[in-house]
Amino acid sequence: MTSPQTETLTGAQLVVRLLERQGVRTLAGIPGGAILPIYDALSQSSLIHHVLARHEQGAGFMAQGMARATGQPAVCLASSGPGATNLLTAIADAKLDSIPLVAITGQVPKSMIGTDAFQEVDTYGLTIPITKHNFLVGSAEELLEVIPRAFRLAVSGRPGPVLVDIPKDVQNQRVEIREWPAPGVADVVPAPAADLLARAAAMINEATHPMLYLGGGVVHSGASALAVEFAEKSSLPTVMTLMALGAMPVDHSLSLGMLGMHGARYTNFLLDECDLLIAVGARFDDRATGKVAAFCPQAKIIHIDIDPSELDKIKTAHVGIQGDVQAVLEQLVPQVRANLRQNWLSRVAELKAAHPLRMPGIDDPRTPYGLIRAVADCLDDEATITTDVGQHQMWAAQAYPLRRPRQWLTSGGLGTMGFGLPAAIGAALAEPERTVVCFSGDGSILMNVQEFASAAEEGVNVKVVLMNNATLGLVFQQQTMFYGERTFSSKFKGMPDFIKVAEGFGWQTLELDQADDPQAALGKALSARGPVLIHARIDLNEQVLPMVAPGAANKDMIGG
């Protein structure tokens, strides 16, 4: 006898209800044998829209696109075995860039685990090092605790991916529900230590050549506006990591753009001169620091991060403050004196004038920089920009006028080619009112080209700008610079007709090389509704400059 307040559901129905209660309205995935009960339950949901990817990695990156665009945790689904292994790259990518992701995978029935059953793989074991936490669910009842907890873990503290592996028999197991658990939400982060804040404020007030170094944590924390206020109050020249671009508008007078391997010369030179580095939500990644011993050699360091294991990991901080970036800045900014720092800012202006970021061809849409600028000229700050990985990514990081946090979605830590298209689809699904532009290359686009089909099916407002040099451009560039011009395996001999490929998937297309007025053609293509491929050839000898050789000091830049 069940009382009127209880209901009996299968594990699969339970998962769907818990996702609904969690506020999930769109998710991406691919069904398969071991997750069919969940798909059957999902078919009965009137709240959740399931987006059918064409490869599980595509589903993982669509979920990432949703999470990166909104800051809310997003969900991807896959079956056991190859479904789960195909998700791994997207999960690892989310781990390195601290993206809240809940991946749900089907598993063979419990009685068959460990028997090398069809499509059985140790998903739990495979995902230990690439998740914040993972679960192998033992009973339907456990789902009531595990699903909300997975969401809580994904968004608490430093965000990240959580995997829930659910055996098929657990999905089919019936369980009586008496009470629904509360949805999982972020844990409260302990307040930062007051004495450390006071010491940090004193160091900032005493410094004569301070620099502010913003990382992706500023975006995750929603602290971009406060970071800009902080910089303005104390006149702090500000550098951003690849992950932080958009936190401070790139044309703000205090912005020095991106630091590191492909930062402007004046940016890296100024870091060499600073006497105080204030790192906020940044993790001293090697692409940002170059040779660590030579990074900001004269500077004391204040490091603010929500993750205590980041403090003193690469550089020992003089003051390390654990806390949510927004909460720390709220308390720190009032303790910092307004300061004009005229001497320091005039030194900044001097070096900027002497060693600016050079973007040759910026006014010509038929060059890499010019194409990126021409695209930007057709759009406003409401547009979202995703990239794949390679030269186009770095050119876009240097040249696109990013002015809004969460405007820029790029694979930073893992550097995954194939990220851009599915992430753009996810961003467009999450925020359908925006135009989402994916800058890609001919190498990257082929790594998840199958998602052209899901984009067409969903009619998402995604524009792919494909910069085609028939080369793995950044590999070609490094071989040219560092491997005696032995450009082995980086030039493609066979090249698909990308216009035909896109048309075959049902996309609108623009062959920019054949446009008489490329700016006008771009404007028309970018304002068309639905998915559009914009194809442009670029010269394979175009390089991303300046460049710091891997392992070299940032002051030793090549070119630019």
Binding site: I128, P129, H133, N134, L136, L153, D307
Partner: protein
């Protein structure tokens, strides 16, 4: 992977770590994975359930290393690790076991 010789290993200072963890399948993998991914050898491991068996205690003997500080922070972040305590090499937990390894 590990170029130090046996005799050099004996010369290295040791540390004993005591971890309180949730007791379920997979927790040991999470803990030792932190070491193996850094090619950081674990010299000794002991694990037994505590009390009613909801939690376990893991004892690890590891070499002192510049990375140890970071290792402890990473272990503390694991969801199933409830507490981490550091002891000197003189801690008796492994010494008492030595007779089983003669």
């Amino acid at each position: 992977m590990n170029s130090i010789t046996k005799s050099e290993q004996h010369a290295l200072a040791r540390t004993v770590l005591e971890l309180d963890v949730n007791n379920h399948a997979g927790v040991m993998s999470h803990v030792v994975g932190m070491f193996s991914r850094r090619a950081y050898n674990v010299e000794g491991i002991l694990c037994m359930p505590v009390g009613r068996g909801d939690t376990s205690r893991i004892w690890l003997m590891v070499n002192e290393d510049a990375r140890l500080e970071q290792m402890v922070k990473q272990i503390e972040k694991l969801e199933d690790v409830l507490a981490v305590r550091r002891h000197g090499a003189e801690h008796e937990v492994f010494e008492r076991l030595e007779e089983f390894f003669r």
